[in-house]
Symmetry: C2
Subunit: 112 residues, 2 copies
DNA sequence: ATATATACTTAGTAATACTAAGTATATAAA
DNA sequence: TTTATATACTTAGTATTACTAAGTATATAT
């Protein structure tokens, strides 16, 4: 039941978190899911059906670029995503928005 | 442009903020819009078309109840909303979820 | 008498994340 | 060898949500 609210609250920050992970360097989808889950201590556990549409959207908007890995040592082909300058710039704006909103929420919710 | 992301981030916390305002006592729609705008320093400026559907939803879920004011001193009829026990309980869960998510975001975003 | 502020309602739209499936490859187990 | 599992990406369909943009109605100020 409160699941529903939790999901809604997570919406909107996912794009920002994915971008943030990509500031560390190029990464592929599955890796992003794993790192997001680990670094958030299981709070953000995305399914593929959630992450990939996000990546496609970020790519459409020019915030990331993708490149298929040259099939080196017979591994499963991977599509690597990397930040663009626009992505870096937008990420800063996203975080500024997030801070504003989070501060607004905290001041309204007070000390619970 | 970053407008879009800001909007998405605000989604999901609106129900919680409306409920929080109602912990102070019964309030009507227009009043909630004004208080939310003031107390959040303009960050959360809802239009009627945004707030009322939220109130209807909260009512459907049994988190608030509504009562039309008895038309006392010839004022415009007002529909007052008040918290239910279920609303108070759910609000606590919502805030717990919010804290988890906000902490997760901060730890991932690091010190910007 | 008219304009403005208050107050609530509703239809239609866009955006987002989810569920649930599918395809394909590499590696481990049987 | 065959099967199962983990990796990796894709897509269709659905539900939820907030928004825009109207509309209705009343009280008060001009």
């Amino acid at each position: 039941m409160q699941e529903k609210y939790e999901r809604q609250m997570k919406k909107g920050v996912l794009d920002m978190l994915v971008l943030q992970l990509l500031t560390e360097g190029r990464k592929y989808g599955y890796q992003l899911i794993a790192e997001l889950r680990e670094k958030s201590e299981e709070i953000f556990s995305l399914k593929e059906g959630t992450l990939y549409p996000i990546l496609y959207r970020l790519e459409d908007e020019g915030l990331v670029e993708s490149r298929w890995s040259e099939p080196e040592n017979r591994q499963i082909p991977r599509k690597y995503y990397l930040m663009t300058d626009k992505g870096r710039h937008t990420l800063k704006e996203m975080y500024r928005s997030w801070r504003q909103i989070a501060d607004g929420v905290e001041s309204l919710m007070g000390r619970q």
